[in-house]
């Protein structure tokens, strides 16, 4: 087990820089999720830890060793690939044993480790099968088994659940959590799915366009997003963004009518800002108390919740209501929110205004 450190890590392909200096440190035994939209550089970052991509600039350290110059096999890591990358011509047993065999481990030790991992993952009856005879979930488990038997310092997961159907994904998410509790090995986990990130992570690194926009626990990221991108990416349905201008202490005038009260102190009057309020924090109220009023465009009943889609000039907003109230499209709805739950972002840079 070991900590992992990123020190100003950069990656370029020729003149094109795809990772712009990531700094982060992962504590021993921590489960870190790197999350972001596709193309944000999250997989590249993980592959740099694995040694599958060269590090252009900066350092990555595993434990106390800087691993920049080390081959993957010398980094003491194990990786679970998105498409599992099981050797199709080998049995489940041989797939799991292969890395140990190459390292020259004795047959009895290999057997013991493979059997133990198979026990943990309930793969015992499948050891003689070939990968193509397994279901998606079983293949996924074998891929994890192959990583476990190595007893590495760090586990690397590259979108391991994205090839599974929704139901299996939830189940495997649970199993990965259980496994991590059992083994306690440091883990880096890449995903584009914010629900996976929220549920699995001790802490998460939210990436966008080659930058780590925020590093923090799921609740920190949810409650206190550092940028407009993070605020919009985490949470479902995503945060509502409404354009406005500063209008004195604790007040922002919306571009399409209405005044939002907030708890962020002084914003220069006339400064362009973006107001962010999560759908679950918008509440319906009477016209006199409303921060703004808007036309109901569409109502989606989700059972427990109802999503009311509002049109507010050029902006749109969603209100999440806990229980369904009859709402007709075309009617007007008045909404407000707790000023403490109102976030402000710079209209240009997207940086949080506090």
């Amino acid at each position: 087990m070991a900590k992992v450190e990123f020190r100003n890590v950069r990656k370029s392909y020729g003149a094109l820089q795809v990772i712009h200096g990531v700094d982060a440190s992962v504590a021993d035994g921590e489960f870190i999720v790197i999350v972001g939209p596709s193309g944000c550089g999250k997989s590249t970052l993980l592959r740099m830890v694995a040694g599958l991509e060269a590090i252009t600039e900066g350092e990555i350290a595993i434990g106390d060793r800087v691993v920049n110059a080390l081959e993957p096999k010398d980094r003491d890591i194990a990786m679970v690939f998105q498409n599992y990358a099981l050797y199709p011509h080998m049995s489940v047993y041989d797939n799991m044993a292969y890395g140990l065999k190459i390292r020259g481990m004795s047959k009895t030790d290999i057997d013991e480790r493979v059997k133990r991992a198979a026990g943990i993952l309930e793969l015992g009856p499948l050891l003689d099968r070939r990968p193509r005879q397994l279901s998606g979930g079983q293949r996924q488990r074998v891929a994890m088994g192959r990583a476990i038997v190595r007893e590495p310092k760090v586990f690397l997961f590259d979108e391991p659940l994205s090839n599974l159907d929704a139901k299996l994904r939830v189940q495997m998410r649970f199993e990965i959590q259980k496994l991590h509790r059992q083994l306690g090995t440091t883990a880096l986990y890449v995903t584009h799915d914010q629900v996976e990130a929220m549920t699995l992570a001790h802490r998460m690194i939210v990436m966008n366009a080659g930058r780590a926009e925020q590093v923090g626990t799921p609740m920190e990221v949810y409650d206190d997003p550092a940028t407009r991108f993070v605020a919009g990416f985490i949470g479902s349905p995503s945060m509502n963004f409404l354009s406005g201008k500063g209008a004195g202490t604790g007040r922002v005038a919306l571009a399409h009518g209405g005044i939002v009260r907030h708890a962020n102190g002084q914003v220069d009057t006339g400064r362009d800002v973006v107001v962010g309020i999560r759908p679950e924090h918008l509440v319906e109220c009477g016209a006199p108390d409303a921060m703004f009023s808007a036309v109901v465009e569409l109502v989606e009943q989700l059972g427990a919740d109802t999503l009311v889609h509002l049109r507010h000039g050029e902006d749109a907003a969603v209100v999440r209501q806990p229980h369904s109230r009859q709402r007709e499209a075309g009617t007007t709805m008045h909404v407000t929110a707790d000023p403490a739950r109102v976030y402000l972002f710079d209209a240009g840079s997207g940086a949080r205004i506090r």
């Binding site: 694995a50 040694g51 194990a78 990786m79 998105q82 990358a85 050797y87 890395g99 192959r146």
Partner: protein
């Protein structure tokens, strides 16, 4: 099919059996001739049902050859077999290696080498016989297994086939192997080669037949009878002049012997044969 007309079905099977019969007819006649005496074959028309000399004729050619050629057929069969095996295995081996290098490494001149191999696709041995013959004779490889096989071993087709196949192997497999600690050659032996089994089998069938059936090249590089392959030997058995001088019953026995091994390979390994044909022409 959509129509269920019994008449059409009957025609279908009639046409197919007709085709099969026409294709098989020459071989049947050959087989019959190989079981007759010389006189029976010369009696025009010869009978179309097998005679009683099957054993004698085949023993005769296998042990003593026929006509002008003193080389016994067993010797020619051995030569053909060796030639075919060396060509098939050699081609597969060097093509696996070069395709692996071209797909899994980036190195200076990679594309140049690739095109060098590619161009050979356009130069069948037939169009450059004389200079190739000269090279082989300068290297003192005439009348040797090396001379018979080596010039036919380079094969753009096989290299291409393997390259295409390797490109379909997911990148993650190589990466997983790297993480598992396998170097390039270990990955080659433990993963790439076992995964290429069906391609190898398909190519083997095609190349074995190609090697067994070579004619022009062995014709040029072999002068000693001990190096004759069946394809060459059988031609030498036919007397240049009159028909009477040719021992047709023995020639036909040799023809059967020449046909059986590759035909067996095709029929027994039909699945790979079809795959090989289709893949190599892509």
């Amino acid at each position: 099919m959509i129509e269920n007309r019994p008449g059409l079905t009957l025609v279908t099977h009639a046409v197919l059996w007709g085709g099969v019969a026409v294709l098989a007819f020459p071989v049947w006649v050959t087989f019959v001739a190989s079981t007759l005496t010389a006189e029976q074959v010369l009696a025009a028309p010869m009978p179309l049902l097998p005679g009683g000399r099957f054993f004698e004729n085949y023993v005769e050619v296998l042990l003593h050859g026929a006509g002008n050629s003193e080389a016994p057929a067993w010797r020619m069969m051995v030569n053909s077999f060796v030639t075919a095996m060396v060509i098939a295995i050699g081609k597969i081996a060097i093509s696996l290696l070069s395709a692996f290098a071209i797909v899994y490494f980036k190195f200076p001149f990679r594309m140049f080498f690739f095109w060098m191999i590619f161009v050979t696709l356009m130069l069948p041995v037939e169009v450059r016989i004389l200079p190739t013959y000269k090279v082989v004779s300068d290297l003192a490889l005439l009348d040797s297994y090396t001379g018979l096989t080596l010039p036919l071993i380079a094969s753009a087709t096989a290299t291409f086939l393997f390259r295409q196949f390797f490109l379909t192997i997911p990148d993650e497999l190589a990466e997983a192997a790297r993480v598992d600690g396998a170097g390039p050659m270990r990955f080659f032996w433990d993963v790439v080669v076992p995964m290429s089994r069906t391609s190898v089998a398909a190519l083997f069938v095609i190349q074995f037949i190609y090697g067994w059936n070579q004619y022009l090249w062995p014709l040029l590089v072999t002068t000693q009878e001990s190096y004759y392959t069946v394809a060459i030997g059988i031609k030498r058995m036919i007397a240049g002049g009159g028909d009477a001088a040719t021992e047709w019953h023995l020639v036909m026995a040799t023809a059967m012997l020449a046909m059986v091994p590759p035909a067996l390979v095709v029929i027994l390994m039909q699945k790979w044969f079809v795959k090989g044909l289709v893949d190599t022409e892509k």
